[in-house]
Amino acid sequence: MTPGISTNVGPISLERPTMLASGILGISLEVFARLYKEGAGALVTKSLSKEPWEGYPNPTVIGVKSGYLNAVGLSNPGAAYFAKMISPNKSVPIVVSLVGSVPEDFTFMIKQFENVKVLAYELNLSCPHVEKVGLEVGDDPNLVQKIVKEVKKASKVPVIAKVGLGSSDYLETVRASCDAGIDAITAINTVRAMAIDVETTRPILSHKIGGLSGTPIKPIAVRCVYEISSKFDIPIIGCGGISSWEDAVEFILSGAKAVQVGSALVEKWTGVFSEINQGISRYMERKGFQKIGDMVGIAKKY
């Protein structure tokens, strides 16, 4: 669409740097096709598990001052069902997000996608509200290393690890992933958080603790991208609170080669992708940047 804003996240080529984040509108091929047409550079699916999951009862997603809390509980129709559903896909760049506890979970799921067009896999090592998967995996660098090794062996397409803030040093999760040959890192997932209603004196989410997303986490996410890109030579996809082109550029300057957008859909809906893309494009023109790569990480030089 707009020239100049194509980007390479390691081996992953994107026409546009603005991706849909995992778990956001991510269960239908038709919706993916629409968002791609409306400007998203790639679409990350809802994190898939071996079996279908119902997720937690509602309330699973609520607003808080300036952001959102969710504990959806990784509801998803399962990898096999999902693979079949997207199998007609020819042209939409879909990144399949996977969640599991042991290497076999992941390799099993990858098998389901054997004959399906997939741009890359994203391993969700950072969901903050489901036991035995997500952050509980990400917090264990040894396990991460094993999983990434097996997944890299099993997958014919690039593999991304999605990290977040857990109860251990997320930079060790990045290190383990890099050591095991990961192709890129997505940072960050939601941050563990909760809200209590003072009238009923109850936690509002049915799972009580969920993940904070949106504007509130942006400065935390920018810091993580900056830290990862300062310490590791690995392509990064920035995620967390991005809702404008300025936000996207902030992540790129701190070291991201692409960005993912989630919560901003609420306020800006599907127009958010082209709005950000056009903003980046105009910014690049004004500042004399030829390509996204020219901007990546330049905030680090100061």
Partner: protein, 275 residues
């Protein structure tokens, strides 16, 4: 912080206290509470309703007939709706929203076709119509006991030229048969400037088809599994659109291109199921 009502963060849960409970039928109740904000929403918009300790459900915003008050009309069904149905005055529930788009207000000869709690947004719509409109309401239910809103509809439309047609499947009250039968019959002798419908999706599909055949403008309000209500989770996807954000109201022209309409919807895990 005291939010001015106009600044209210529509996505945050606001707790309200039930003030009045009205029995509409043995399985349907209307719950009235004070909420300036929700009292003013457009017809077709819905709220996410938290039943503390139980669940959260999408509910059309009902009219309350009292200033600054809002209401929901709920049919008891599964666990969550039964819990909501069972609240007493003084109990607290949480609301967030309004969400979704709304019916397009047309003028002239209008037909509203509702089944069960699908009547809720149609009642709200009726309060937005011009006094000069000629309004026909078809309301369907299984049996006499389950008929509700007949009096309310007549009351809302009392200054209009209007007909309220009740249809029961077992013929125990009003006309016998299905709302679709009644509509087909009406269409033989009448034309309409617009048709609005809400209710079971198979019913709505027929209504949209009938209207389309006669080239009448038609809108239907769609239900899907809703978790967030605000366009994040994707659970309400309906073809390439999201029911909570692009809808819940769609026009007939679009609906007839949507392969799911009247046939399939998704479960909590996102698996497609047939109606």
């Amino acid at each position: 912080m005291i939010w001015l009502e106009s600044q209210r963060n529509t996505n945050s849960v606001k707790v309200v206290t039930i003030e009045k409970v009205i029995d509409e039928t043995p399985t349907v109740r209307t719950l009235v509470f004070s909420d300036e904000f929700l009292s003013k929403v457009l017809p077709g918009q819905f709220a996410m309703v938290w039943i503390p300790g139980v669940n959260e459900l999408p509910m059309s915003v009902m009219i309350s007939q009292e200033k600054s008050k809002a209401a929901f009309t709920v049919r008891k069904h599964g666990l969550a709706s039964t819990a909501l149905y069972s609240v007493k005055p003084g109990d607290q529930i949480g609301v967030r929203g309004p969400y979704g788009n709304s019916f397009t207000i047309k003028q002239g000869k209008l037909l509203l076709v509702g089944g069960g709690t699908g009547l809720v947004p149609l009642m709200r719509l009726a309060t937005f119509l011009q006094k000069t409109d000629d309004v026909t309401v078809i309301m369907g239910s299984k049996t006499k006991q389950e008929v509700f809103f007949e009096g309310l509809a007549n009351d809302i439309l009392k200054q209009n030229k209007h007909v309220v047609l009740v249809v029961t499947e077992d013929g125990t009250y009003g006309e016998s048969g299905l709302v679709t039968d009644a509509m087909q019959r009406l269409l033989k002798e009448n034309t309409f400037d617009a048709v609005y419908t809400c209710g079971p999706e198979k019913m709505m599909r027929k209504i949209v088809q009938f209207a389309a055949e006669k080239k009448i403008y038609v809108e239907a309000s769609i239900e899907r599994m809703m978790k967030c209500g605000m366009g994040l989770c994707g659970s309400c996807c309906f073809g390439e659109v999201l029911a909570c954000k692009d809808g819940t109201v769609f026009d007939g022209q679009y609906l007839l291109t949507n392969k799911e309409f009247g046939y399939t919807h998704r479960s909590k895990s996102g698996i497609m199921e047939n109606y």
